[in-house]
């Protein structure tokens, strides 16, 4: 191994209330693919933001090619030869691909020349892209390519990738890995951030593991087992939730027929003739890459956007013409993906957030709020779902992602819904809370509730679902029993390669 391209010693960063990074040491050789492994909240993002100059460290030293450097801005990082692909893309929807890439380049350049350069790189690394297209017209995978090419046009010596695969199909992940391996063979170092153990084992030469802001291990992941990596990451074995026997029975709960909705958002996805049937006690997973219509489909089920064509039935009665309030009255509950600002009002107390959708639980009389009932409901949620907060008067935004999610889930579950809809329930949640949430879902189904859960995490869906369908470009695939399909097939479907189905398990396919 050659001398370290990047070396960090004693990097420390304090945020109000959290020590995000506590004396982190890390070294990456040139051409090395180095994994930064850790669960949500372990301090990975803070650390790379410091390397890229977005955030400044309180203490510690960064050496670049052996020389101590102070990275005070992203443009300085780029000048050194550091590129970064963020988890949340930093793209401008109304601008073209070339303009977006141009914005990430500091030196003076000619847009025309840049365009041909983009075409060249996209050819060379197998990242097909049209530089003249507007970003809002691109798929998520294509958007990631824009981010990657934005780095590559500057000939980086280190490429930082923050959770790059969460937006890709399994097949796209393979292609990305090829690109990354090629870059590494050309001498470019890669800092690869992830919490997915199999990816790290497949791709990385070395791994630094973070837990609670500290380095807990440095290892060669290829010599480790998933079990040992998980132990380094979370301090124990990966917990799994316990499945009871199949709870699904033949009673039909939800029927969606030819649901068609043009998206109200010009950058959104239109829903095209969606068909699906969900039975009592069934957990149906909706897989798919973000931005393929999940958001719109869930909002349509909840009644926030109305069907242009087609119908939705709950327990045999049509609900497609009524709004969320009426659907809730008929037993529907919904936990949206966005917790702060949608599932909960950030600046309101937990008790007021219990009132938000829980008002039906005897909290009103003649239009007046019965605050005693509100408080007792909030207290009950907090106790039953182990929500860690300073009390029910704590503001929603003061809770961690996992605790807020448990609160919102609890609020919806305690209403004993017939149908529970979930948008990416464990997004940004630590492993412990994720397991609790999975267990709640499985237990709920065992009691007869039907669950529709949309998620980009295939592992999660295969763990908790009875059946799986895929949404791609606003179309829904046939539904398959989880036991009768696999990651490869679902992955293919995620890229849109399926014939639209009848939407019901059990029909001869």
């Amino acid at each position: 191994m050659t001398a370290a391209q990047l070396e960090l010693t004693g990097i420390t960063k304090q945020y109000p209330g959290v020590l995000a990074n506590d004396h982190i040491d890390l070294a990456i050789a040139s051409g090395e693919v180095h994994a930064l492994l850790g669960e949500n909240g372990a301090g990975k993002s803070t650390l790379v933001k410091m390397i890229y100059g977005v955030v400044r460290a309180d203490e510690g030293e960064i050496r670049w090619g052996g020389e101590p450097v102070k990275i005070t801005s992203p443009s300085q990082a780029r000048a050194l030869g550091i590129g970064m692909v963020f988890q949340h893309f930093n793209l401008f929807e109304t601008l073209t691909v070339a303009e977006n890439i141009s914005l990430g380049i500091d030196e003076e350049h000619d847009l025309k020349q840049l365009t041909s350069e983009i075409e060249e790189i996209s050819e060379k690394y197998g990242l097909p892209l049209n530089p003249h297209q507007h970003v809002h017209a691109l798929s998520v995978g294509e958007r990631q390519r824009v981010e990657i090419i934005r780095c590559l046009v500057q000939d980086p010596k280190l490429l930082i990738m923050d959770e790059p695969t969460s937006v890709l199909t399994p097949q796209e992940v393979e292609k990305l890995f090829e690109t990354l391996r090629r870059l590494s063979s050309e001498g470019c170092s890669i800092l690869y951030i992830s919490h997915k153990l199999d990816e790290i084992q497949a791709l990385c030469d070395r791994a630094t593991v973070l837990r609670h802001g500290k380095v807990t291990a440095t290892c060669n992941p290829k010599e480790e087992t998933p079990k040992s990596l998980a132990e380094m990451m979370i301090g124990s074995e990966l917990p799994v939730c316990k499945r009871t026997a199949q709870a699904r029975d033949s009673e039909v709960r939800l029927v969606v027929r030819n649901l068609t909705i043009p998206s109200p958002d010009p950058h959104g996805t239109d829903l095209k003739s969606i068909n699906v049937t969900v039975h009592r006690g069934e957990v149906l997973g909706i897989a798919g890459v973000a931005g393929n219509g999940q958001k719109e489909f869930l909002a349509a089920l909840n009644g926030e956007i109305m069907a242009a064509q087609g119908r939705i039935e709950l327990n045999g009665a049509e609900i497609s013409k009524v709004g969320p309030t009426e659907r809730r009255a008929r037993g529907l509950a919904f936990v949206p993906e966005e917790r702060l600002g949608r599932g909960a009002v950030p600046d309101m107390s937990l008790s007021n957030n219990a009132l938000l959708t829980g008002y039906r639980e005897d909290m009103l009389s003649n239009g007046f709020i019965r605050f005693d009932k509100v408080r007792s409901y909030a207290t009950a949620i907090r106790e039953r779902f182990d929500v860690r907060s300073s009390g029910i008067e704590a503001e929603a935004r003061s809770l961690s992602g996992g605790n807020l999610q448990k609160f919102i889930m609890g609020r919806e579950i305690m209403m004993n819904p017939q149908l529970l809809i979930l948008g990416h329930p464990t997004w940004g949640v630590d492993v412990g809370a994720a397991t609790t949430i999975h267990q709640e879902i499985v237990d709920l189904a065992a009691k007869g509730t039907s669950v529709v859960v949309a998620s980009e995490d295939l592992d999660e869906l295969f763990e908790i679902c009875d059946s799986i369908a895929v949404i791609a470009e606003g179309r829904l695939s046939p539904v398959k029993r989880t036991s009768e399909t696999n990651v490869e097939e679902v992955g293919l479907w995620m890229s849109g390669q399926f014939e639209a189905g009848e939407g019901e398990v059990g029909h001869a396919a």
Partner: protein, 357 residues
């Protein structure tokens, strides 16, 4: 930079109360500087501005009187502001309230009874509501920005009043002055405290203040307004109708502004004339924010703002300073109120040059 804002983990309850006080103190300091710059002894000027108006019973009556339209408009506006509905046309709704209520007084002139005043108040409220309903309809139906439409309609309302008092409603015995007849006795608010002009409008305003407080703090509909304002996506998720919040906000704020208008003309002015308000509808925006959009805060804020109007008049009479000083003060006060609000959610830290990584 040496000063840095740091988000607080919890909003500071202490700062919620302290920040309006900080703003008031900063405005006082600015006043001292302003008066010094004008060559006036600042202590004398501040005394004239803030204390002198209240040295007589009559003055105290005027204080309450001027606070009344501010209070009514601001309490109404605060409902919308909490719901992220920006009605800034209270001046126009106030004017239309005065026009409609005053129109009733004129229509029954010489043929009246004790039923007249309640009818006028009712017409005033309806007039303000109707004028407020226009921007809410345009918002709900056409997505038109309510800030701009409600403001434009204020200019229209003021011109309509001008048209009426210059034209069809002009007092036939009024020597061509642009004003209407003086309302009949049954169309004038009874004075409650002798030796002052303190009239029935003041307690009526307080009743509405309490009603709005109950509505916002205790009813589910009031809760929905707050959710719509703080997190529109959460309101949509929970199934609260945005359109209803827009309409309701405009009806409440328009109705209360209309009441303020009719209370003003039937209580203080006793006739319609081209100018019936020195900008109460606009000043009420400041009052609403200074009062932290809370009814009882607004009560205090409207008293402060009313004092500033009276103080401005005193400055003009006794120190020969222009009335426009009041406007400058109002603007400064609002700047300071908004600026010191940052302390509620952020902590200001003095930071030494950051230690380099």
């Amino acid at each position: 930079m040496l000063l840095r804002l740091e988000p607080r983990q919890f909003t500071s309850k202490r700062m919620q109360y302290a920040s309006p006080l900080i703003a008031a103190v900063l405005t006082l300091i600015a006043g001292v500087i302003l008066f010094s710059a004008l060559g006036t002894n600042p202590m004398v000027a501040l005394h004239t501005f803030f204390v002198r108006p209240l040295t007589s019973l009559y003055g105290v009556g005027e204080w309450a009187l001027k606070a009344t339209p501010l209070l009514l408009c601001a309490v109404g506006l605060s409902v919308g502001f909490r719901g992220n509905v920006w009605n800034i046309g209270a001046e126009g709704q106030l004017t239309m309230g005065a026009v409609c209520g005053g129109g009733i007084a004129l229509a029954f002139w010489g043929d009246e009874g004790p039923w007249l005043l309640p009818l006028m108040l009712f017409a005033g409220i309806l007039g303000g509501m109707a004028w407020g309903a226009i921007p809410s309809f345009l918002k709900n139906r056409f997505n038109a920005n309510e800030i701009l439409t409600s403001l434009m309609l204020s200019y229209v309302a003021i011109q309509i009043l001008g048209y009426l008092v210059h034209g069809p409603w002009r007092d036939p015995e009024g020597f061509n002055f642009p004003q209407t007849r003086i309302f009949g006795d049954d169309g004038i608010m009874p004075v409650l405290i002798e030796g002052t002009r303190f009239h029935l409008g003041v307690p009526i305003a307080l009743v509405f203040l309490v009603i709005v407080w109950v509505f916002m703090s205790w009813t589910f509909q009031g809760f929905k307004v707050q959710v719509a304002g703080q997190a529109p996506a959460a309101a949509a998720y929970a199934g609260y109708s945005r359109k209803r919040v827009v309409l309701l906000s405009f009806l409440i704020s328009g109705g209360l502004a209309g009441l303020a208008g009719i209370a003003e003309v039937s209580g203080t002015i006793t006739q319609l004339q081209p100018i019936i308000s020195p900008g109460y509808g606009f000043a009420a925006i400041i009052v609403a924010f200074l009062g932290r959009l809370h009814p009882f805060g607004i009560l205090l804020a409207s008293l402060l703002m009313s004092l500033m109007y009276l103080g401005g008049e005193q400055l003009q009479i006794h120190l020969n300073l222009p009335l426009a000083v009041t406007g400058v003060f109002q603007g400064l006060l609002l700047f300071f109120v908004l600026g010191s609000d940052v302390l509620v959610r952020y902590r200001i830290r003095l930071v030494a040059q950051p230690k380099e990584a």
